[in-house]
């Protein structure tokens, strides 16, 4: 008796849908941050892209915030299923002082919250922000730690046999957000 996995993919956000949600994030930040000393820190890999896109939108509106990048591979915990066995480490780059800033972390999806927890530790080893917030494109639920985003593009409830796949042109050569379902048939 053999088991085959069937994978179905459903497009949840089209490229223009993503653009819309990026704008939602930008709006949220504009509304709540006022004139604060804001800094963006994108989590490798797609969190960086997301941070840059939101920063670009805000730049068009006249608000220019610095964007740093953060590799959290070295901060993952043992329960983190997302980490590969042999992570290719990236050099984190935060070329500005984050002390006293309102630092906004960016990641494309929040799931268990462990990646964000690792990012918090990593970020605080760089300095002492006054306040840290979190912006995500998609929240797929299933938190295992008490971590919640402050700015959300879209909430997409998922089952445990599903995951969210975000594709950005800059990183993947294509664009879209997909809900992937793995069902086992015997």
């Amino acid at each position: 008796m053999s088991t085959t996995s069937e994978i179905t993919t459903e497009e949840i956000l089209t490229p223009s849908g993503i653009e819309e949600k990026v704008a939602v994030l930008a709006d949220g930040i504009t509304n709540r941050c006022g004139d604060d000393d804001v800094a963006f820190v994108g989590i490798f890999t797609r969190g960086v892209t997301l941070a840059r896109r939101v920063a670009e939108v805000l730049k068009q509106r006249g608000k220019e915030y610095p964007v740093g990048t953060l590799d959290i591979s070295l901060y993952r915990d043992d329960f983190d299923r997302n980490g590969p066995d042999f992570p290719r480490l990236e050099s984190s780059d935060i070329p500005f002082a984050i002390d006293g800033t309102r630092a906004i972390l960016f990641d494309e999806v929040i799931f268990t919250g462990r990646t964000i927890r690792a990012a918090l530790d990593g970020l605080m080893d760089y300095g002492r922000p006054r306040k840290i917030e979190l912006a995500v494109l998609v929240d797929r639920g299933h938190r295992e730690l008490p971590v919640q985003p402050d700015y959300v593009g879209q909430t997409i409830p998922t089952a445990s046999n599903q995951y969210i796949q975000v594709r950005f042109q800059e990183d993947d050569g294509k664009e879209g957000v997909f809900l992937v379902t793995e069902s086992d048939h015997e």
Binding site: F86, R88, L89, E90, S91, D125, Y126, G127
Partner: protein, 312 residues
């Protein structure tokens, strides 16, 4: 994407695939980058134990490993075994049993017996890192040398490096030349005939003099430490003669300066023997970079290896 298989130990360079070498060297870069932060630590190995087991004294290498392990938040224990208190043979097996009982995750070992790290690795679940065994191998030194050379020569394939000095007794020469050759770097040797082993790899050409070396035009000169205690009178007549023939004196340094040749040395340096004071101030000396990169590379190696202690 990756064909990397989990590896428990780092014993030598020969057994590493090019992919593994690239992986470690590439990962060492972000680790080095951490040194610029005020918080130089990352929590990656928190809760893990690293045992530094040095049967031969070495402050450079052992402290480099200690710093690397500390910066990964591991718990480090240093164990320097005085050679007089270690009974030959007897202690190796007994020590291995003790090590197993201590349940260390990583064991960094330096021993004068070639092959000892391999024996220890076979008998423990811990990841064993060879910090130098006899004349055989010093893999982390080779890796930090490669990292350093690649920083200044990013298009390293086809470049040339000459190793100068006591090749016969040098595990650094063996490991570094092997790694450089794996990376496509040509390696030559210069030194007294009594210190160049006849069994060396045939594709390391031997130069008769510094003039021949400069005609060949290396991109880097890699000086080895001359072990005075051992060599003098036995392998060559004396320091003065060694320095005259093979030392990096003013004239040779000028030639290097003209050609923009890099200078490397694994340390510690014998001033007046293989180098002059002047050479130590050479603007293209990579010696302190090597030290800095040593910590980064050792962090990358500790991060990469997979001990089997977790399965207990």
């Amino acid at each position: 994407m990756s064909d990397l298989q989990p590896r428990k130990d780092l014993l030598d360079i020969e057994s590493l695939s090019l992919e593994e070498i690239e992986y470690v060297l590439n990962n060492a870069v972000p680790f080095k980058q951490l040194f610029q932060r005020s918080v130089k630590k990352v929590p990656t190995l928190r809760g893990k134990t690293v045992l530094n087991l040095f049967y031969e004294p070495s402050t450079r290498t052992s402290s480099s490993f200690e710093v690397a392990a500390s910066r990964l938040s591991a718990d480090v224990t240093n164990f320097t075994v005085g050679s007089s208190s270690v009974v030959k043979g007897e202690s190796l097996l007994d020590t291995i049993e003790t090590l197993q009982a201590m349940r260390s995750d990583y064991i960094v070992i330096r021993h004068k017996g070639a092959g000892v790290p391999g024996i220890v690795a076979k008998h423990t679940n811990a990841s064993v890192l060879n910090a130098g065994d006899g004349y055989h191998a010093h893999p982390t030194q080779a890796l930090l040398d490669a990292m350093t050379f690649r920083e200044v020569c990013p298009d390293y394939a086809g470049k040339k490096v000459v190793i100068v000095g006591d090749i016969l007794h040098s595990r650094v020469a063996r490991s570094t030349s092997t790694l450089f050759q794996k990376l496509g770097i040509e390696v030559g040797v210069l030194g007294p005939g009594s210190l160049i082993p006849e069994g060396r790899h045939d594709f390391m050409q031997r130069f008769a003099s510094w003039d021949d070396v400069f005609d060949w035009g290396p991109d880097a000169v890699y000086l080895l430490r001359v072990q005075l205690e051992r060599q003098e009178g036995q392998f060559f007549p004396g320091i003065a003669e060694y320095h005259k023939m093979y030392g990096l004196n003013s004239g040779r340094l000028s030639q290097m300066r003209e050609r923009g040749t890099w200078l490397m040395h694994p340390g510690p340096v014998n001033r007046g023997v293989e180098v002059t004071d002047e050479a130590m101030g050479y603007e293209k000396s990579l010696i302190s970079t090597q030290v800095e990169n040593g910590i980064a590379v050792r962090m990358a190696v500790l991060h990469w290896l997979k001990p089997e202690t977790q399965q207990d």
